[in-house]
Protein backbone atom coordinates (compact mmCIF):
# COMPACT_ATOMS: atom_id res chain seq x y z
CA UNK A 1 0.00 0.00 0.00
CA UNK A 2 2.84 2.38 0.88
CA UNK A 3 4.43 1.65 -2.47
CA UNK A 4 1.20 2.50 -4.22
CA UNK A 5 0.96 5.76 -2.32
CA UNK A 6 4.52 6.56 -3.24
CA UNK A 7 3.68 6.03 -6.87
CA UNK A 8 0.62 8.23 -6.64
CA UNK A 9 2.54 11.01 -4.96
CA UNK A 10 5.26 10.74 -7.56
CA UNK A 11 2.71 10.90 -10.31
CA UNK A 12 1.06 13.98 -8.79
CA UNK A 13 4.44 15.63 -8.54
CA UNK A 14 5.11 14.90 -12.14
CA UNK A 15 1.72 16.27 -13.13
CA UNK A 16 2.41 19.43 -11.18
CA UNK A 17 5.74 19.88 -12.84
CA UNK A 18 4.26 19.34 -16.24
CA UNK A 19 1.20 21.51 -15.71
CA UNK A 20 2.61 24.60 -14.08
CA UNK A 21 4.66 25.92 -17.00
CA UNK A 22 1.80 25.28 -19.39
CA UNK A 23 -0.66 27.02 -17.16
CA UNK A 24 1.70 29.87 -16.55
CA UNK A 25 2.29 30.25 -20.27
CA UNK A 26 -1.41 30.36 -20.82
CA UNK A 27 -1.67 33.26 -18.46
CA UNK A 28 1.03 35.15 -20.32
CA UNK A 29 -0.24 34.99 -23.93
CA UNK A 30 -0.55 32.85 -27.06
CA UNK A 31 1.78 30.41 -28.75
CA UNK A 32 1.92 28.87 -32.19
CA UNK A 33 3.09 25.34 -33.11
CA UNK A 34 2.88 22.41 -35.46
CA UNK A 35 1.27 19.02 -35.09
CA UNK A 36 3.90 16.42 -35.98
CA UNK A 37 2.72 12.90 -36.73
CA UNK A 38 5.45 10.41 -35.96
CA UNK A 39 6.42 7.42 -38.07
CA UNK A 40 4.74 4.13 -37.33
CA UNK A 41 6.68 0.96 -38.10
CA UNK A 42 5.04 -1.54 -40.48
CA UNK A 43 3.65 -4.81 -39.15
CA UNK A 44 3.02 -8.33 -40.47
CA UNK A 45 0.09 -10.31 -39.09
CA UNK A 46 1.04 -13.77 -40.43
CA UNK A 47 2.98 -15.58 -43.14
CA UNK A 48 2.42 -18.74 -45.21
CA UNK A 49 4.15 -20.90 -47.81
CA UNK A 50 2.02 -22.98 -50.19
CA UNK A 51 1.87 -24.63 -53.57
CA UNK A 52 -0.37 -23.11 -56.22
CA UNK A 53 -3.36 -25.03 -54.82
CA UNK A 54 -2.70 -23.18 -51.55
CA UNK A 55 -1.76 -26.40 -49.76
CA UNK A 56 0.77 -25.53 -47.06
CA UNK A 57 4.37 -26.50 -47.80
CA UNK A 58 5.83 -24.92 -44.68
CA UNK A 59 8.19 -27.49 -43.20
CA UNK A 60 7.76 -29.82 -46.20
CA UNK A 61 9.88 -30.98 -49.12
CA UNK A 62 9.38 -29.12 -52.40
CA UNK A 63 10.32 -29.59 -56.07
CA UNK A 64 12.75 -27.45 -58.02
CA UNK A 65 11.55 -25.66 -61.15
CA UNK A 66 7.99 -25.68 -59.79
CA UNK A 67 5.92 -22.67 -58.74
CA UNK A 68 5.28 -21.97 -55.04
CA UNK A 69 3.81 -19.00 -53.16
CA UNK A 70 5.21 -17.18 -50.12
CA UNK A 71 2.74 -14.80 -48.55
CA UNK A 72 2.75 -12.03 -45.95
CA UNK A 73 -0.81 -11.55 -44.71
CA UNK A 74 -2.21 -8.49 -42.97
CA UNK A 75 0.74 -6.22 -43.69
CA UNK A 76 0.00 -2.81 -42.20
CA UNK A 77 1.53 0.58 -41.63
CA UNK A 78 -0.37 3.29 -39.74
CA UNK A 79 1.13 5.85 -42.09
CA UNK A 80 -0.51 4.18 -45.06
CA UNK A 81 0.61 2.26 -48.14
CA UNK A 82 2.43 5.32 -49.47
CA UNK A 83 4.78 5.13 -46.50
CA UNK A 84 5.98 1.63 -47.44
CA UNK A 85 9.27 1.46 -49.27
CA UNK A 86 9.58 -2.24 -50.15
CA UNK A 87 8.71 -5.81 -49.29
CA UNK A 88 11.61 -8.25 -49.62
CA UNK A 89 11.56 -12.04 -49.73
CA UNK A 90 14.95 -13.56 -48.98
CA UNK A 91 15.26 -17.34 -49.44
CA UNK A 92 18.41 -19.24 -48.57
CA UNK A 93 19.62 -22.79 -48.11
CA UNK A 94 21.76 -24.32 -45.36
CA UNK A 95 24.99 -23.60 -47.23
CA UNK A 96 24.27 -19.88 -47.27
CA UNK A 97 23.11 -17.20 -44.87
CA UNK A 98 20.57 -14.40 -44.93
CA UNK A 99 23.22 -11.96 -46.13
CA UNK A 100 24.85 -14.39 -48.55
CA UNK A 101 25.36 -13.69 -52.23
CA UNK A 102 22.48 -14.63 -54.52
CA UNK A 103 23.02 -17.88 -56.41
CA UNK A 104 20.91 -20.53 -58.12
CA UNK A 105 22.20 -23.11 -55.66
CA UNK A 106 21.31 -21.54 -52.34
CA UNK A 107 20.23 -17.88 -52.21
CA UNK A 108 17.41 -15.91 -53.79
CA UNK A 109 16.16 -12.33 -53.27
CA UNK A 110 12.87 -10.97 -54.58
CA UNK A 111 11.44 -7.49 -54.01
CA UNK A 112 8.26 -5.48 -54.39
CA UNK A 113 8.87 -1.71 -54.58
CA UNK A 114 6.10 0.68 -53.56
CA UNK A 115 7.31 3.64 -55.63
CA UNK A 116 7.03 1.72 -58.89
CA UNK A 117 4.53 -0.91 -57.77
CA UNK A 118 6.68 -3.60 -59.39
CA UNK A 119 8.03 -7.03 -58.51
CA UNK A 120 11.56 -8.01 -59.41
CA UNK A 121 14.13 -10.73 -58.90
CA UNK A 122 17.08 -9.01 -57.29
CA UNK A 123 19.12 -12.17 -57.76
CA UNK A 124 20.41 -14.57 -58.87
CA UNK A 125 18.87 -13.71 -62.24
CA UNK A 126 18.27 -9.96 -62.19
CA UNK A 127 18.30 -9.81 -66.00
CA UNK A 128 15.49 -12.17 -67.02
CA UNK A 129 13.85 -12.73 -63.59
CA UNK A 130 13.62 -16.39 -64.55
CA UNK A 131 12.76 -17.54 -61.01
CA UNK A 132 10.00 -14.94 -60.51
CA UNK A 133 6.48 -15.82 -61.67
CA UNK A 134 5.44 -12.19 -61.87
CA UNK A 135 1.96 -12.86 -63.26
CA UNK A 136 0.99 -14.62 -60.03
CA UNK A 137 2.55 -12.11 -57.62
CA UNK A 138 0.00 -9.91 -55.87
CA UNK A 139 0.09 -6.75 -53.76
CA UNK A 140 -2.66 -4.72 -52.09
CA UNK A 141 -4.24 -1.44 -53.20
CA UNK A 142 -4.30 -0.25 -49.60
CA UNK A 143 -3.28 -1.38 -46.13
CA UNK A 144 -3.76 -3.63 -44.33
CA UNK A 145 -3.22 -6.06 -47.18
CA UNK A 146 -1.46 -9.18 -48.41
CA UNK A 147 1.71 -9.57 -50.46
CA UNK A 148 2.17 -12.83 -52.39
CA UNK A 149 5.45 -13.81 -54.03
CA UNK A 150 5.19 -16.50 -56.76
CA UNK A 151 8.55 -18.08 -57.51
CA UNK A 152 10.30 -21.27 -58.58
CA UNK A 153 13.68 -22.51 -57.44
CA UNK A 154 16.35 -23.27 -60.00
CA UNK A 155 16.97 -26.90 -61.01
CA UNK A 156 20.25 -26.86 -59.12
CA UNK A 157 18.79 -25.50 -55.85
CA UNK A 158 20.60 -27.37 -53.10
CA UNK A 159 18.98 -30.67 -52.14
CA UNK A 160 18.21 -31.04 -48.44
CA UNK A 161 16.54 -34.00 -46.79
CA UNK A 162 15.00 -31.80 -44.10
CA UNK A 163 13.43 -28.35 -43.95
CA UNK A 164 16.65 -26.34 -43.72
CA UNK A 165 15.85 -23.69 -46.32
CA UNK A 166 14.51 -20.43 -44.81
CA UNK A 167 12.15 -17.77 -46.14
CA UNK A 168 12.46 -14.33 -44.57
CA UNK A 169 9.95 -11.59 -45.38
CA UNK A 170 10.93 -8.01 -44.58
CA UNK A 171 8.59 -5.03 -44.86
CA UNK A 172 10.40 -1.68 -44.77
CA UNK A 173 8.95 1.84 -44.77
CA UNK A 174 10.36 5.16 -45.97
CA UNK A 175 11.82 5.84 -42.53
CA UNK A 176 13.66 2.51 -42.69
CA UNK A 177 11.50 1.12 -39.91
CA UNK A 178 10.72 -2.50 -40.63
CA UNK A 179 8.93 -5.68 -39.64
CA UNK A 180 10.18 -9.13 -40.53
CA UNK A 181 9.35 -12.81 -40.22
CA UNK A 182 11.73 -15.72 -40.76
CA UNK A 183 9.63 -18.61 -39.49
CA UNK A 184 8.90 -20.31 -42.84
CA UNK A 185 11.08 -23.22 -43.94
CA UNK A 186 11.21 -26.07 -46.45
CA UNK A 187 13.45 -28.82 -47.86
CA UNK A 188 14.32 -29.48 -51.51
CA UNK A 189 13.94 -32.87 -53.19
CA UNK A 190 16.79 -34.42 -55.14
CA UNK A 191 16.49 -33.47 -58.83
CA UNK A 192 18.34 -35.25 -61.62
CA UNK A 193 17.88 -34.53 -65.32
CA UNK A 194 19.44 -36.18 -68.31
CA UNK A 195 19.16 -35.17 -71.94
CA UNK A 196 20.38 -37.54 -74.62
CA UNK A 197 22.17 -35.62 -77.35
CA UNK A 198 22.78 -38.66 -79.55
CA UNK A 199 19.37 -40.25 -80.08
CA UNK A 200 20.74 -43.50 -81.48
CA UNK A 201 24.02 -45.35 -81.60
CA UNK A 202 25.58 -48.35 -83.31
CA UNK A 203 28.40 -50.08 -85.06
CA UNK A 204 28.84 -50.42 -88.81
CA UNK A 205 31.19 -52.67 -90.76
CA UNK A 206 31.22 -55.43 -88.18
CA UNK A 207 32.58 -58.84 -89.07
CA UNK A 208 31.75 -62.18 -87.50
CA UNK A 209 33.97 -62.88 -84.53
CA UNK A 210 35.23 -59.31 -84.21
CA UNK A 211 35.98 -58.26 -80.62
CA UNK A 212 36.13 -54.99 -78.73
CA UNK A 213 34.78 -53.01 -81.65
CA UNK A 214 34.23 -49.41 -80.68
CA UNK A 215 30.97 -47.70 -81.62
CA UNK A 216 31.17 -45.52 -84.70
CA UNK A 217 27.65 -44.22 -85.16
CA UNK A 218 26.95 -41.32 -84.90
CA UNK A 219 30.59 -41.04 -83.83
CA UNK A 220 33.00 -42.59 -81.34
CA UNK A 221 31.02 -41.84 -78.20
CA UNK A 222 27.59 -41.00 -76.82
CA UNK A 223 26.95 -37.50 -75.53
CA UNK A 224 24.53 -36.59 -72.75
CA UNK A 225 23.82 -33.43 -70.77
CA UNK A 226 23.11 -33.64 -67.05
CA UNK A 227 21.65 -31.25 -64.49
CA UNK A 228 21.66 -32.31 -60.85
CA UNK A 229 21.25 -30.51 -57.52
CA UNK A 230 23.50 -32.98 -55.69
CA UNK A 231 26.49 -35.21 -56.48
CA UNK A 232 25.42 -37.91 -58.93
CA UNK A 233 26.21 -41.12 -60.82
CA UNK A 234 25.37 -41.97 -64.42
CA UNK A 235 23.93 -45.43 -64.97
CA UNK A 236 22.96 -47.46 -68.04
CA UNK A 237 21.03 -50.60 -68.93
CA UNK A 238 20.00 -52.43 -72.07
CA UNK A 239 16.51 -53.56 -72.99
CA UNK A 240 17.73 -57.10 -73.72
CA UNK A 241 19.78 -59.02 -76.25
CA UNK A 242 20.40 -57.33 -79.58
CA UNK A 243 17.87 -58.99 -81.86
CA UNK A 244 17.12 -59.53 -85.53
CA UNK A 245 14.02 -61.63 -85.80
CA UNK A 246 14.93 -64.87 -84.02
CA UNK A 247 18.68 -64.20 -84.09
CA UNK A 248 20.42 -62.47 -81.21
CA UNK A 249 23.70 -61.09 -79.96
CA UNK A 250 23.86 -61.36 -76.15
CA UNK A 251 23.50 -58.02 -74.37
CA UNK A 252 26.54 -58.95 -72.30
CA UNK A 253 28.66 -58.67 -75.46
CA UNK A 254 28.26 -54.89 -75.20
CA UNK A 255 30.52 -53.21 -72.65
CA UNK A 256 30.44 -49.61 -71.45
CA UNK A 257 32.78 -47.11 -69.80
CA UNK A 258 33.51 -43.44 -69.85
CA UNK A 259 36.61 -43.87 -72.01
CA UNK A 260 38.59 -47.00 -71.12
CA UNK A 261 37.96 -50.41 -72.66
CA UNK A 262 39.98 -52.18 -69.98
CA UNK A 263 37.62 -50.92 -67.27
CA UNK A 264 34.41 -51.40 -69.22
CA UNK A 265 31.71 -53.72 -67.88
CA UNK A 266 28.92 -55.57 -69.67
CA UNK A 267 25.47 -54.11 -69.98
CA UNK A 268 22.62 -55.86 -68.20
CA UNK A 269 18.87 -55.32 -68.11
CA UNK A 270 19.22 -53.55 -64.74
CA UNK A 271 20.72 -50.12 -64.25
CA UNK A 272 24.42 -50.17 -63.29
CA UNK A 273 27.04 -47.45 -62.88
CA UNK A 274 28.96 -46.34 -65.93
CA UNK A 275 32.61 -46.62 -64.93
CA UNK A 276 34.34 -43.27 -64.72
CA UNK A 277 31.05 -41.41 -64.41
CA UNK A 278 30.28 -41.75 -60.72
CA UNK A 279 30.42 -39.27 -57.82
CA UNK A 280 30.23 -36.34 -60.20
CA UNK A 281 29.69 -32.82 -58.88
CA UNK A 282 26.30 -31.12 -58.97
CA UNK A 283 25.69 -28.53 -61.64
CA UNK A 284 23.67 -27.37 -64.59
CA UNK A 285 23.96 -28.53 -68.22
CA UNK A 286 27.02 -30.65 -67.58
CA UNK A 287 28.34 -32.39 -70.71
CA UNK A 288 29.39 -36.02 -70.30
CA UNK A 289 30.12 -38.83 -72.74
CA UNK A 290 30.81 -42.54 -72.71
CA UNK A 291 31.75 -45.32 -75.11
CA UNK A 292 30.30 -48.73 -75.98
CA UNK A 293 32.25 -51.66 -77.42
CA UNK A 294 30.86 -54.91 -78.86
CA UNK A 295 31.99 -58.49 -79.46
CA UNK A 296 30.37 -60.17 -82.47
CA UNK A 297 29.72 -63.91 -81.97
CA UNK A 298 30.94 -66.48 -84.41
CA UNK A 299 28.83 -67.64 -86.11
CA UNK A 300 26.43 -64.75 -86.48
CA UNK A 301 23.86 -64.29 -89.26
CA UNK A 302 24.07 -61.15 -91.31
CA UNK A 303 21.68 -58.34 -90.55
CA UNK A 304 20.72 -55.36 -88.40
CA UNK A 305 20.52 -56.20 -84.68
CA UNK A 306 18.77 -53.74 -82.43
CA UNK A 307 18.15 -52.98 -78.76
CA UNK A 308 17.43 -49.92 -76.65
CA UNK A 309 19.94 -48.27 -74.33
CA UNK A 310 18.54 -46.39 -71.33
CA UNK A 311 20.52 -43.87 -69.31
CA UNK A 312 19.67 -42.45 -65.91
CA UNK A 313 21.14 -40.09 -63.35
CA UNK A 314 20.93 -40.97 -59.64
CA UNK A 315 22.12 -39.24 -56.50
CA UNK A 316 25.51 -40.53 -55.34
Amino acid sequence: MSKKMTKIVALIALVLLATIPLTYAATEGTSSGTATVGNAAPTITSVSFTDTSEVSKDGSQIDVNTEYWAKATGVDDDNGLVDLDKVEFIIWGPSSTEGGADSEADHYTFKWTQATDTWEEVGPDSVTDIHLVETNCTDPASLPGDFRLAFKLDKIAEKTATATWTIKIIVTDDSVASASDATLSFGVNYYGEITVNDGTHGWTGLTVGATDVIMNNPDGDLDVTVTSNAAFDLQAKGSGDLAKGGDTIPLGNVVIHKDTLGSAVSLTTSYADIGGLTSLSAGSDLAHSFILWIDVPDPCPTGDYTYTLSIQVVES
Binding site: T19, G59, Q61, G192, N217, S310
Partner: protein, 220 residues
Protein backbone atom coordinates in the same frame (compact mmCIF):
# COMPACT_ATOMS: atom_id res chain seq x y z
CA UNK B 1 35.09 -69.27 -99.21
CA UNK B 2 37.10 -67.20 -96.79
CA UNK B 3 35.57 -64.10 -98.26
CA UNK B 4 32.10 -65.58 -97.87
CA UNK B 5 32.80 -66.56 -94.26
CA UNK B 6 33.57 -62.96 -93.41
CA UNK B 7 29.97 -62.04 -93.67
CA UNK B 8 29.45 -58.49 -92.74
CA UNK B 9 27.26 -58.13 -89.71
CA UNK B 10 25.81 -54.74 -89.79
CA UNK B 11 24.42 -53.12 -86.72
CA UNK B 12 24.02 -50.09 -88.85
CA UNK B 13 21.53 -47.41 -88.25
CA UNK B 14 20.41 -46.67 -91.72
CA UNK B 15 17.67 -44.39 -90.59
CA UNK B 16 18.51 -42.53 -87.46
CA UNK B 17 16.66 -40.05 -85.34
CA UNK B 18 17.09 -36.55 -86.59
CA UNK B 19 20.04 -35.00 -84.81
CA UNK B 20 17.95 -32.13 -83.51
CA UNK B 21 15.66 -34.50 -81.60
CA UNK B 22 16.85 -34.59 -78.00
CA UNK B 23 14.95 -36.63 -75.46
CA UNK B 24 15.27 -35.37 -71.90
CA UNK B 25 13.82 -36.47 -68.57
CA UNK B 26 14.09 -34.74 -65.21
CA UNK B 27 12.94 -36.36 -61.97
CA UNK B 28 12.32 -34.80 -58.58
CA UNK B 29 12.72 -37.69 -56.13
CA UNK B 30 10.34 -37.79 -53.17
CA UNK B 31 12.08 -40.72 -51.41
CA UNK B 32 8.68 -41.85 -50.23
CA UNK B 33 8.64 -43.57 -46.83
CA UNK B 34 4.99 -44.03 -45.99
CA UNK B 35 3.00 -45.82 -43.30
CA UNK B 36 -0.10 -47.81 -44.29
CA UNK B 37 -2.73 -49.66 -42.35
CA UNK B 38 -3.22 -53.28 -43.29
CA UNK B 39 -6.23 -54.07 -45.49
CA UNK B 40 -6.40 -50.52 -46.83
CA UNK B 41 -5.64 -48.92 -50.18
CA UNK B 42 -3.89 -45.55 -50.43
CA UNK B 43 -2.54 -43.26 -53.09
CA UNK B 44 0.92 -41.69 -52.80
CA UNK B 45 2.93 -39.23 -54.88
CA UNK B 46 6.40 -40.66 -55.55
CA UNK B 47 7.99 -38.11 -57.87
CA UNK B 48 7.51 -35.20 -60.19
CA UNK B 49 8.78 -35.86 -63.71
CA UNK B 50 9.69 -33.25 -66.32
CA UNK B 51 10.06 -33.57 -70.07
CA UNK B 52 13.19 -31.47 -70.54
CA UNK B 53 13.89 -32.42 -74.15
CA UNK B 54 12.45 -31.08 -77.35
CA UNK B 55 10.41 -34.16 -78.27
CA UNK B 56 7.24 -35.54 -76.71
CA UNK B 57 7.63 -38.55 -74.42
CA UNK B 58 5.55 -41.62 -73.66
CA UNK B 59 6.42 -42.75 -70.16
CA UNK B 60 5.64 -46.05 -68.51
CA UNK B 61 6.14 -46.47 -64.77
CA UNK B 62 6.89 -49.94 -63.42
CA UNK B 63 7.06 -51.10 -59.79
CA UNK B 64 10.10 -53.28 -59.04
CA UNK B 65 10.06 -54.59 -55.46
CA UNK B 66 13.15 -55.33 -53.42
CA UNK B 67 12.92 -58.93 -52.25
CA UNK B 68 9.67 -60.49 -51.15
CA UNK B 69 6.83 -58.11 -51.88
CA UNK B 70 3.92 -60.46 -51.31
CA UNK B 71 1.51 -58.63 -49.10
CA UNK B 72 1.92 -55.30 -50.87
CA UNK B 73 0.42 -54.51 -54.23
CA UNK B 74 1.86 -51.36 -55.83
CA UNK B 75 0.40 -50.04 -59.06
CA UNK B 76 1.89 -46.91 -60.63
CA UNK B 77 -0.58 -44.66 -62.39
CA UNK B 78 0.76 -45.18 -65.90
CA UNK B 79 1.31 -44.78 -68.84
CA UNK B 80 1.78 -41.06 -69.20
CA UNK B 81 2.27 -38.70 -72.08
CA UNK B 82 4.38 -35.61 -71.52
CA UNK B 83 4.78 -32.88 -74.10
CA UNK B 84 8.07 -31.08 -74.30
CA UNK B 85 8.42 -28.66 -71.40
CA UNK B 86 5.64 -30.21 -69.30
CA UNK B 87 5.86 -31.77 -65.86
CA UNK B 88 3.55 -33.95 -63.81
CA UNK B 89 3.39 -35.64 -60.44
CA UNK B 90 3.52 -39.45 -60.49
CA UNK B 91 1.37 -41.49 -58.12
CA UNK B 92 1.14 -45.11 -57.05
CA UNK B 93 -1.88 -46.96 -55.71
CA UNK B 94 -0.85 -49.20 -52.84
CA UNK B 95 -2.90 -52.08 -51.45
CA UNK B 96 -1.54 -53.37 -48.14
CA UNK B 97 -2.51 -56.98 -47.49
CA UNK B 98 0.07 -58.01 -44.92
CA UNK B 99 1.89 -56.32 -42.02
CA UNK B 100 5.58 -55.67 -42.66
CA UNK B 101 8.18 -53.34 -44.12
CA UNK B 102 8.51 -53.16 -47.90
CA UNK B 103 10.71 -51.29 -50.37
CA UNK B 104 11.31 -51.06 -54.07
CA UNK B 105 11.66 -48.67 -56.96
CA UNK B 106 9.35 -47.15 -59.48
CA UNK B 107 11.20 -47.25 -62.78
CA UNK B 108 10.38 -44.90 -65.65
CA UNK B 109 10.82 -46.15 -69.19
CA UNK B 110 10.49 -43.60 -71.96
CA UNK B 111 9.84 -43.80 -75.66
CA UNK B 112 9.65 -40.91 -78.03
CA UNK B 113 6.69 -40.23 -80.17
CA UNK B 114 8.61 -39.55 -83.38
CA UNK B 115 9.58 -42.43 -85.66
CA UNK B 116 12.78 -43.87 -84.21
CA UNK B 117 14.74 -46.71 -85.77
CA UNK B 118 18.10 -48.25 -85.04
CA UNK B 119 19.38 -48.55 -81.47
CA UNK B 120 17.65 -45.78 -79.56
CA UNK B 121 19.29 -44.11 -76.58
CA UNK B 122 16.64 -42.91 -74.17
CA UNK B 123 16.55 -41.19 -70.80
CA UNK B 124 15.14 -43.18 -67.91
CA UNK B 125 14.98 -43.04 -64.15
CA UNK B 126 14.11 -44.76 -60.89
CA UNK B 127 12.77 -43.49 -57.58
CA UNK B 128 13.00 -45.27 -54.24
CA UNK B 129 9.91 -46.08 -52.16
CA UNK B 130 9.42 -47.63 -48.73
CA UNK B 131 6.20 -48.68 -47.03
CA UNK B 132 5.51 -49.76 -43.46
CA UNK B 133 2.29 -51.72 -43.17
CA UNK B 134 0.92 -51.67 -39.64
CA UNK B 135 -2.16 -52.83 -37.80
CA UNK B 136 -5.04 -50.43 -37.28
CA UNK B 137 -4.40 -49.01 -33.82
CA UNK B 138 -7.11 -50.07 -31.36
CA UNK B 139 -8.69 -46.98 -29.88
CA UNK B 140 -9.40 -46.91 -26.18
CA UNK B 141 -12.27 -44.91 -24.74
CA UNK B 142 -9.72 -42.28 -23.70
CA UNK B 143 -8.41 -42.01 -27.28
CA UNK B 144 -11.93 -41.51 -28.59
CA UNK B 145 -12.56 -38.74 -26.11
CA UNK B 146 -9.29 -37.04 -27.02
CA UNK B 147 -9.54 -37.34 -30.81
CA UNK B 148 -12.80 -37.94 -32.58
CA UNK B 149 -11.22 -37.43 -36.03
CA UNK B 150 -8.59 -40.16 -35.75
CA UNK B 151 -10.26 -42.41 -38.34
CA UNK B 152 -8.98 -40.16 -41.13
CA UNK B 153 -5.34 -40.62 -40.26
CA UNK B 154 -4.04 -42.26 -43.46
CA UNK B 155 -2.16 -39.77 -45.62
CA UNK B 156 -2.97 -39.76 -49.34
CA UNK B 157 0.34 -38.29 -50.40
CA UNK B 158 3.76 -37.55 -49.00
CA UNK B 159 3.16 -33.94 -48.19
CA UNK B 160 3.69 -32.92 -44.63
CA UNK B 161 0.80 -30.85 -43.46
CA UNK B 162 1.21 -28.59 -40.56
CA UNK B 163 -1.33 -29.21 -37.84
CA UNK B 164 -3.86 -26.44 -37.66
CA UNK B 165 -6.04 -25.69 -34.68
CA UNK B 166 -9.69 -26.63 -35.02
CA UNK B 167 -12.24 -23.86 -35.10
CA UNK B 168 -14.23 -25.22 -32.18
CA UNK B 169 -11.39 -25.57 -29.69
CA UNK B 170 -12.65 -24.72 -26.24
CA UNK B 171 -11.15 -21.65 -24.68
CA UNK B 172 -9.15 -22.49 -21.55
CA UNK B 173 -10.35 -21.22 -18.19
CA UNK B 174 -8.50 -18.23 -16.74
CA UNK B 175 -5.52 -19.08 -14.54
CA UNK B 176 -4.85 -17.60 -11.04
CA UNK B 177 -2.16 -15.44 -12.64
CA UNK B 178 -4.69 -14.06 -15.10
CA UNK B 179 -7.13 -13.37 -12.23
CA UNK B 180 -4.47 -11.41 -10.38
CA UNK B 181 -3.62 -9.53 -13.55
CA UNK B 182 -7.28 -8.60 -14.03
CA UNK B 183 -7.49 -7.33 -10.45
CA UNK B 184 -4.39 -5.19 -10.94
CA UNK B 185 -5.94 -3.79 -14.11
CA UNK B 186 -9.11 -2.86 -12.15
CA UNK B 187 -6.98 -1.21 -9.44
CA UNK B 188 -5.10 0.74 -12.09
CA UNK B 189 -8.37 2.08 -13.47
CA UNK B 190 -9.35 3.36 -10.00
CA UNK B 191 -5.96 4.94 -9.48
CA UNK B 192 -6.22 6.57 -12.84
CA UNK B 193 -9.56 8.16 -12.02
CA UNK B 194 -8.16 9.60 -8.81
CA UNK B 195 -5.25 11.04 -10.72
CA UNK B 196 -7.52 12.64 -13.30
CA UNK B 197 -9.57 14.31 -10.59
CA UNK B 198 -6.38 15.46 -8.90
CA UNK B 199 -5.08 16.81 -12.16
CA UNK B 200 -8.23 18.79 -12.83
CA UNK B 201 -8.09 20.26 -9.34
CA UNK B 202 -4.50 21.28 -9.82
CA UNK B 203 -5.29 22.81 -13.21
CA UNK B 204 -7.79 25.09 -11.43
CA UNK B 205 -5.84 25.81 -8.26
CA UNK B 206 -2.35 26.51 -9.59
CA UNK B 207 -3.32 29.68 -11.54
CA UNK B 208 -5.19 30.94 -8.47
CA UNK B 209 -2.19 30.27 -6.30
CA UNK B 210 0.13 31.93 -8.80
CA UNK B 211 -1.98 35.06 -9.11
CA UNK B 212 -2.27 35.21 -5.28
CA UNK B 213 1.49 34.94 -5.05
CA UNK B 214 1.93 37.68 -7.65
CA UNK B 215 -0.48 40.02 -5.81
CA UNK B 216 1.30 39.38 -2.51
CA UNK B 217 4.61 40.23 -4.14
CA UNK B 218 3.25 43.50 -5.53
CA UNK B 219 1.87 44.44 -2.08
CA UNK B 220 5.31 43.90 -0.56
Amino acid sequence: MIVFSLVMVVLALNRVVAQEDRAGLGISHYDLDAPLIVDTTSKFAVARIYNTGNVDLNIEAIWIPNGDAQGLNVTPVSPMFLSSGESTQVHVIVRADKIGNYSGVVEFETSIVSNVTGNPVLPGGTVQCSFSVIELPIETDEDIIEDDDSTDSIPDDNSTQNPTPTQNDEQPETSPQEDAHNKIQKLDVGTGLILIVTLLSLQCSVPILLSWYDRRGEQK
